[in-house]
Symmetry: C2
Subunit: 221 residues, 2 copies
């Protein structure tokens, strides 16, 4: 592979190789040397030119996934055939059902060992997802009468933080039983805000993702 | 000060001096050298023997405060004259009213620059506060009929995470207006769980702490 001519292609190539290895070996059991060994002769210097550490590669991999996820969020936000409430429901359903979620939960990074990843997820949730996708939907819901709140910014932030962070079995290392309890508490929390938008299908999918994560966490130990 | 003879006293001495400087100058504007300069001739080696970095000192300072806070939580948990619901209310009231909160919000650390501090707070909230203090109170509430849930572990975790982390203006760098909205959403979230336990006095105190933090954040800039 030609170097330096197309830096974007080089970055994409590194991310593709790294992601495939993370999937096969698990993130914690992949070394930077493993990645270099699969880069068709690309030098150690070339990889360190773009990424300071393995964690930086992981953050870049997840940011690329976040971009795809944001496109999905934008598509739902901009539909004209759904109420605010139904858009919120569609967003949860599609987010959790995306096949790429299986891949993420297979990589199974340890968030305690990778604080940058947690900060990146928190940042994306609070600075991107909440104001750009959830908030406009809640504002539409207030207008069309399907959502009722005087504090749309804070409601958007709370809901998406609870869904993306607290209910993420990778961050809190939740068992399937714990994930089940969290889902039920989330369901009741939303109902307290007049939002009856989660269903059993979502619960089953969350259980499935938790189980993928728990299985892969110890794969190579 | 004699060295090595009483390592615990040395640690306490370092923490006292560091905390006083953090209070006076703000955490971000205090250097390790500032701390050494105020340690009555204790050497740089002595401080690095106990702490690897300034952030480690901050984590130790806050852990010492957490211990005091946990004693307060235990006292309320073990009272025999209150229902589960009233204990939960007492815990929020006392937590927010403790005078030491003014000190913490004056130190005003930047959580983005100090990920260890965020992890320490998350760990304490999820691994200590939720299971050891909030959960037994919720279980008592289920027994005495003042709290109703089938998922006491997850309800304990959600409530204390929202209160300690999301409503902490230092972590999310909230303005007074944002803090106000968060408090109102928290109030409604609790009411969704049948818990009518926050009052205007707590709201005023949260606004006061937010204002202390916002004033001190830029003190020395």
């Amino acid at each position: 592979m030609a170097r330096n001519k197309h830096p974007e292609e080089t970055v994409n190539f590194i991310l593709n190789v790294a992601f495939r290895l993370f999937m096969e070996k698990g993130y914690e059991y992949t070394s930077v040397q493993d990645i270099i060994d699969h880069l068709d002769g690309l030098s150690k210097g070339a990889i360190y030119h773009h990424f300071k550490s393995k964690e930086d590669i992981l953050v870049a991999v997840t940011e690329r996934m976040t971009e795809q996820s944001n496109q999905m969020l934008a598509r739902i936000r901009d539909r004209s055939d759904l109420s605010g409430r139904d858009k919120l429901k569609a967003i949860f359903k599609e987010s959790i059902n995306r096949p790429v979620q299986n891949d993420i939960f297979t990589v199974a990074p340890n968030f305690h060992k990778n604080p940058k990843l947690l900060f990146s997820l928190l940042h994306d949730t609070v600075e991107e997802a909440a104001p750009n996708y959830i908030l406009p939907i809640i504002r539409q819901g207030i207008t069309d009468g399907t959502i009722e709140t005087d504090y749309p910014e804070q409601l958007a932030e709370l809901i998406i933080l609870v869904a993306n962070v607290w209910m993420n079995p990778m961050i809190f290392d939740s068992s399937e039983e714990e994930s089940y309890g969290k889902f039920r508490i989330f369901e009741r929390m939303l109902r307290g805000f007049g939002l009856d938008i989660v269903d059993e299908e979502m619960l089953e999918r969350l259980q499935e993702l938790t189980s993928i994560y728990q299985k892969n966490k110890y794969k190579y130990m």
